[in-house]
């Protein structure tokens, strides 16, 4: 029984981490239907930035994340205006290729700037755990989960309660209708990317104190974050969070009760199963179609 509870705890915690890594992608993939292959590179870039703040100024990575959200947001705007918006006009599908190319370039630039050696931040909580009886709750993962909840809640509030959120929902569903009320889809796109990239700051901070990383660590994360978003149903922030949890628990249960070797195949298997049964994702309600009146 203890083993089951412990496995569930580990699974939920790492699931929270996965959800955190995927947050920005829900917006760009879910709302704009853009597969942003730079998500992994942005996470790694944020990790390196937090690492530099940690090494040179002793700033805790979580605090560092807050400091870099604004610059990352600006990077998101640049990414949208200089690349995405132009490529989208030619062909929507080309955005995958363009962002993939950018990810490669980013990897090279990161390697130039920080060198190829493995890095990690080691704030005091990096190897400590809370104890509940005989159960262990690793602090680093717990803080990452709390960040995940926090970022998801903030993003959800923005989307559901702010003018920008209304504009994003409107423009993504109905660009012409949105223009008729004065919303410019291009400006909305820039905002979406600003928010999406800014949110990777937190994922990157978590990356820096949970794992060791090198410039090409991004490869692992791009597949995992896409899995989370697809499982959760496009555009649903809460769905992505739940999907992350589900993936984490499935992975942990597989490691403990099935076979360690299969653990890394779990995300792919889950996508296969879920998409066969429920193609719209686990947590998207199929809404009534907007029929011509």
């Amino acid at each position: 029984m203890t083993e089951l509870l412990q496995t569930l705890i580990f699974g939920a915690l790492i699931g929270g981490v996965y959800a955190l890594m995927a947050t920005g992608l829900t917006l760009t993939f879910g709302v704009m239907k853009i597969v942003n292959m730079t998500q992994g590179a942005l996470l790694v870039l944020s990790a390196y930035l937090c690492y530099s703040l940690w090494v040179h100024f002793g700033i805790d990575p979580i605090l560092g994340a807050f400091l870099i959200t604004a610059p990352m947001g600006l990077l998101g705007v640049a990414l949208y205006k200089l690349v995405i918006e132009r490529v989208q006009r030619i062909d929507h599908g080309l955005t995958i290729v363009a962002t993939f190319a950018l990810a490669m370039i980013a990897e090279g630039l990161i390697a130039l700037a920080w060198g190829p050696n493995t890095r990690a931040t080691t704030p005091p909580y990096f190897n400590r755990s809370f104890r509940i009886g005989s159960l262990v709750v690793p602090q680093a993962q717990l803080y990452a989960c709390l960040l995940a909840i926090g970022v998801t809640v903030v993003l959800q509030l923005v989307i559901k309660r702010s003018w920008l959120g209304y504009a994003i929902t409107a423009a993504s569903e109905n660009p012409e209708g949105a223009r008729l009320v004065g919303v410019e889809p291009v400006r909305v796109g820039a905002w979406i990317f600003a928010i999406s990239v800014a949110s990777t700051a937190f994922g990157g901070a978590a990356l820096s104190f949970l794992f060791q990383f090198v410039p090409d660590s991004q490869d692992v994360w791009i597949g995992l974050t896409l899995s989370v978003v697809i499982l959760g149903g496009l555009g649903s922030l809460a769905g992505a969070f739940a999907a992350g949890l589900l993936l984490g628990v499935a992975e942990a249960m597989t490691t403990t009760y099935v076979s360690v070797r299969w653990a890394t195949a779990v995300p792919t298997l889950m996508i296969l199963i879920v998409l066969t049964i429920r193609p719209q994702g686990l947590f998207t309600r199929a809404t009534r179609q907007d029929l011509a009146t």
Partner: protein, 245 residues
């Protein structure tokens, strides 16, 4: 109030509007009718800024608006309710209506809420079901919400693109009343209508379009009584136009 002179516009390489002249007087209800493909909706789209004209001018109260972006035209007091897909199905009734005031959102929630309350008196649906997702409303109810949204800015001119499209007779009556209410509040209405009887019975003035230009224009009563009206619709030559394309 609206003065359109020699308007040419189209999509891609195709010209839909071929020299349209149109005058709309303040405070009136105006209806554009005509066969499919005449370019009726295109006129509205050029006024609201969705489409930029190729030649000719559009002036509202003497101000040139041709080619301006939609936001600028909204600020000039011209709002369009499109033929279809006007609503945001993923937003609630209340949120949809509030979005009508998007360009003046910085004036503060209190002012927005106040305006919403005013409109709820004219459009009861706003008070009855504000938090329902617009996607779950019926056709007639959606039109209500769209009208209310159009009124958020207290506009000078409202452009209606086939407001009765796909509606049952009961809803037609409600739409008719709503248009009269809007006009009663001082708003100038320019609408495009496929339902000729509905349009001409409601409007003060009417314009008949065919193949991208104006075939007949005058008071709604005169147009309704004009024996050549049906000729324009069924393709025979009329005194003022070239043969239908």
């Amino acid at each position: 109030m609206i003065h359109i002179d020699g308007l040419w516009a189209g999509y891609g390489g195709l010209d839909i509007l071929r020299g349209v002249d149109l005058k709309v007087e303040q405070g009136t209800i105006n209806c554009i009718v005509g066969p499919n493909g005449a370019g009726k909706s295109t006129v509205l789209k050029t006024i609201s800024g969705i489409l930029a004209p190729r030649a000719g001018s559009i002036a509202v109260d003497g101000v040139q608006l041709g080619g301006e972006p939609p936001a600028a035209i909204l600020r000039a007091g011209v709002v369009q309710v499109p033929q279809r897909h006007g609503l945001f199905t993923k937003l609630t009734v209340r949120e949809n209506v509030l979005m009508g005031a998007y360009i003046i959102r910085r004036r503060g929630r209190k002012q927005m809420d106040g305006r919403y309350e005013e409109l709820a008196e004219i459009f009861p649906l706003l008070a009855e079901r504000p938090h329902v997702l617009a996607g779950s409303l019926s056709g007639g109810q959606r039109r209500m919400v769209e009208f209310a949204r159009a009124m958020m800015l207290d506009p000078k001119i409202v452009l209606l693109d086939e407001p009765t499209l796909g509606l049952d007779p009961i809803s037609l009556a409600i739409i008719r009343d709503s248009i009269l209410v809007m006009n009663g509040a001082g708003t100038t209405i320019l609408m495009v209508e496929q339902n000729v009887r509905f349009g001409l019975s409601l409007a003060h003035h009417a314009t008949v379009m065919s193949a991208g230009s104006v075939a007949l224009a005058g008071s709604a009563q005169d147009i309704a009584d004009n024996p050549h009206l049906m000729d324009v619709f069924f393709g025979a030559a009329s005194p003022r136009t070239e043969p239908a394309a």
